[in-house]
Amino acid sequence: MIANVIGVLFDGVAYGSLLFIIAVGLAVTLGLMNFVNLAHGVFAMVGGYVCVVLMTRAGVPFLATLPVAFVAAAIVGLVLERTLYQHLYRASPLDQVLFTIGVVYMSIAGATYVFGSSQQPVFLPSYLRGQVHVLGVDLGVYRLFLVAVVALLTYALHLLLERTRFGSQVRASVDNPVAAAGLGINVNRVFALTFALGSGLAGLGGGLGIDVLGLDPTFPLKYMVYFLLVVAVGGSGTIKGPLVAAVILGVFDVSGKYFVPQIGGFVIYALMVLLLIVFPAGLYGRRT
């Protein structure tokens, strides 16, 4: 029983860390730049399809497809940001919602047209499959791999934001774009690069997540709530908030579906409404 609980908890953490890596880019655009981007899942889907196409049509090994997924999603993000999104930073939330729903619909239709509506397969290399036995608990190797990758990425992201020149430019631009521009920071460029980085991470997460989240054209819509939730609950300003929120959500969702399947997905929505009532500004609320 205990082993069972630990196993479910572990699955929840792995699931949560995946949510985090996809949603961290959204934490910047939504939480810091106040841009309601319902289409963030599209970047994850781009990454996922890049992985699948490279694996099934070109025979590239799984691990080698991941950097390509990152780059492809980052480029898509950069192009969209430069051509369309940047015009909407000052628009009303309603316009942003409508616009990004439009993008989601178009991407769903486009993905269905190109790849069909079925679930895409993923071929994990043999060393990532199976289970390992740790202290009497069976843990999925792939889940362990996920947690490790996300932990490394999170640390790298932390260093990037806190220790580099680019990181301090991002923080300055977000805190006060006018003053930052006055100090000679090219705010538009910083936002574009940040957006591309966030999209790239989402793409990477989409590729990593095919085995856990699945991949079909409705992906952006199916997981939209989860990504929004990570940001709304986690608050913004640090990467710690979304990380904690993602892990909490992951654990609750997986254990809810495992232990009380009768009410299943209900747990996560109830938790969300509850958390939003108790912490209207998120767990690690940012001053407004």
Binding site: L30, V36, L84, H87, L88, A91, P93, L94, D95, V97, L98, F99, I101, G102, V103, V104, Y105, M106, S107, I108, A109, G110, T112, Y113, L221, V225, L228, L229, A232, Q262, I263, G264, G265, F266, Y269, A270, M272, V273, L276, I277, P280
Partner: protein, 333 residues
């Protein structure tokens, strides 16, 4: 008040104090008469016509909170679904009279709306989005899991509705459905029209334009918003009940996110903050859907997404806003 030395100021004051005229304009009369004409002219489209009317009413209910009070909701289908299930369940369990069913559905939806309004009113835009989205998904999941009551994903069938006033039975060709929907939608619409032209409606516009200043002139902002949210929920519930009664079926998609999103699209397409926008948007959206998704559903979804992007980037105000801009330009010339 009208001192001769200040003619302009007094005229301004007189204008400001007057409520907007709510007499029916000729164009509005023509709009409603066109529906009557449509009944006789296009007998094979009566079923689609009643669906358009119902969806239009639903869109107008969203306009009350979005266009007038400025609350962006991603879960308005929750109230539509609550109304539909209320009417449907009543009919399945032996209460077949339609008009009392409508009232019951409106009341239940209003109660749910009133409870939800407390959560919606307190947050900022993002919190509102998330809360409405969350409530919508929660209700969908609840209906899905409570299959022994609602029929789950298969939907609620076996809804039998007694003849209206014991006289008109619901027929397959949609004769009764069309007339019933038209009368109910017209009556509810006129009530809403009166509401938004009242001082209450004006105070909502004030809140939308400057929520922080309204308390200074003595308007209780949170209470007004809760009131309009409750009314909008009741109207949405009425629309849901109409759909349940005229189609004699309740599908779980009546609660789905897609319905909330499509609703937003229709409203924005027609134009927000002018009541008729919801009806016009529903007509255009549903006729296009009927035609295009007949060709290919995927094709339809792509174009509706494309349309949304274009509307946001280039065509603010939707169809009615565009027409009005054309009209002012034409009149000025």
């Amino acid at each position: 008040m009208a001192t001769p030395s200040l003619p302009i100021a007094s005229r301004l004051a007189a204008n400001a104090a007057r409520l907007p005229s709510d007499r029916l304009r000729p164009l509005e009369v023509a709009f409603w008469l066109a529906w009557v004409a449509a009944f006789f002219l296009f007998p094979s489209y009566r079923l689609l016509g009643s669906q358009i009317l119902i969806t239009g009413l639903f869109a107008v209910s969203l306009d009350l909170i979005l266009g007038y009070a400025g609350i962006v909701s991603l879960g308005h289908a929750a109230f539509f679904g609550v109304g539909a299930y209320t009417a449907g369940l009543l009919a399945v369990h032996g209460w077949h009279e339609p008009i009392s069913g409508l009232f019951a559905a409106a009341i239940v939806a209003a109660i749910v709306g009133y409870l939800v309004s407390f959560l919606v009113v307190r947050g900022g835009d993002l919190t509102r989005l998330m809360v409405t989205l969350g409530i919508g998904l929660m209700l969908w999941e609840a209906a899905n899991k409570a299959a022994f009551i609602t029929g789950g994903v298969d939907g609620l069938s076996g809804v039998t509705i007694a003849p209206i006033f014991g006289l008109w039975t619901f027929d397959l060709a949609g004769r009764t459905a069309f007339v019933y929907a038209l009368v109910v939608v017209f009556v509810v619409f006129m009530v809403m029209r009166r509401l938004v032209h009242s001082p209450f409606g004006l105070s909502l516009r004030g809140i939308q334009q400057g929520g922080r200043r309204m308390p200074a002139i003595g308007a209780p902002v949170a209470r007004r918003l809760r009131a309009i949210f409750t009314v909008a929920a009741a109207v949405a519930g009425t629309a849901g009940a109409l759909l349940a009664q005229t189609t004699q079926f309740v599908g779980i998609d009546s609660l789905g996110f897609q319905r909330s999103a499509d609703l937003l699209i229709m409203l924005v397409l027609g134009g927000t903050g002018r009541l008729y926008g919801g009806l016009v948007g529903a007509i255009v959206f549903m006729l296009a859907q009927d035609y295009l998704s007949g060709i290919d559903p995927v094709y339809w979804q792509f174009w509706i997404g494309f349309l949304l992007v274009v509307v946001v980037l280039f065509a603010h105000g939707g169809i009615l806003g565009g027409l009005q801009a054309l009209r002012t330009r034409f009149l000025r010339r």
